[in-house]
């Protein structure tokens, strides 16, 4: 599980409004509001990208080091996983 795949929970409702978006899990009524970086990551959780792919995309898109990108990414995805908004697969 060093380089897992991330996939959006298909039940989750995603709504982008201006520079932020709402992720809403109708099964447990959990709501997360994410910023534009979060939206960027969310769109990469398509079941095809692995952790390292997402880190690479972040480094390309934003002014951030690979280590910082990975640290922030794992923290963000852990919250989404905890709220059952994304699934992690080996």
């Amino acid at each position: 599980m060093d380089n897992p795949l991330y996939r959006q929970n298909k039940a989750v409702i995603f709504r982008q409004e201006q520079d932020e978006a709402l992720l809403f899990n109708p099964d447990n009524a959990d709501i997360v509001v994410i910023n534009s970086t979060g939206c960027f990551i969310w769109n990469l959780c398509n079941g095809k990208n692995r952790k390292k792919d997402i880190v690479n995309s972040l480094v390309e898109e934003f002014d951030v080091s690979p280590s910082k990108a990975e640290e922030d990414l794992l923290k963000f995805l852990a919250e989404l996983e905890n709220k059952k908004l994304v699934e992690k697969k080996s």
Binding site: I13, R15, E17, E20, P26, D27, N28, A29, I31, V33
Partner: protein, 378 residues
Amino acid sequence: MSLPQNNVSAPKTPELNCLYFYLTSYCNLNCSHCWIAPTYLEKVVAPEEAEFALLKEVIDQALPLGLKSIKITGGEPFLNENIGPLIAYAFSKQLSANIETNATLIDDAWAEFLKENSVKHIAVSLDGPNSTIHEGIRNKPGCFDKAVEGIKSLKRCGLNVQIIMSLCGRNLGYLEETLDLAERYGVDSFKINCISGIARGKAFQNQGATLTVKDYLEIHEKIRSTIGPRHKIKILFDIPPAFKPLRDVKNEAGSCCIKNILGVLADGSISMCGIGNLLSSLKFGHIRENKLRDLWQENAVLKIIRDEMPSKFKGICGRCILKAFCMGKCRAEAYYANNDLLSPFSFCEEAFKAGLFPQGRLFNNKEDSHGQPIIPAK
């Protein structure tokens, strides 16, 4: 709506987190918009309707079901001499206590008592910045000054105070002045309520004295864009979450914890909330005759709430992506209007018909609408 037979089939019952004590069916004010419509009383002490031992018994029976907090309201709860013992008992059980009051009976001694018993939050109804506006709605001369004195006493003791302003045609032009007043007295937050279409609120609507959904949405936008930034106080607007900006959806008032509450009426009857005061079909039983656990686990109305909300919500509520969060905003109002707990909330339905419901908050054709038909074509 047909109600199912009582049935103890669901082993997984939600926690009963909060009891709403509608402590008296009397009030010393006679507000034009009140949804509870208590009996007006000139005196400062109301007749006892349920003895304290009975109130204590409800708490004792609710504790094993998950009770964590109580809300004390009315009528005006300070008319009932049991309010002090009830607060003290809740404190002794480490329950969080919140109160809704018109504050006209609160003095320094009461404020100190509330502080000593760690009352968490006191919501005070104030419908305007002066006696003319406030008393014009609350129909009791002198009640403005008394409410303000009550607020001052509460704040002198450092209690968390919220002003609730029920917005209608008569006080709309005084919103900012009322916000100024709240800030002047150090009030912690300011909540704006829409008038509920129940009881006197419905009659108020029928007189044309309330605002339209369009009015409420316009003032909500004005608060966000201009009024809010001019004030330091936290402003909450109790419109359904579907109309709020994303960042406010979770953080502001606007949804009901209907699956985790029970109402305790003044006489000891148990209901969904205060609506049992008006509709006997929503009274579940009485604490003298029923065990709270039996009512909580077996009542047919609660079974609908648990099993059919939000998946079987009708109309606009069934099509809203926030239905599981919002839970149909106020089910009491929906039932009062339509005799159906699953019927749509009037504010959202009216907004949808007027083209004011945000399209982005509706399920679209690609999404699973969780038990609801996919949005039908117009």
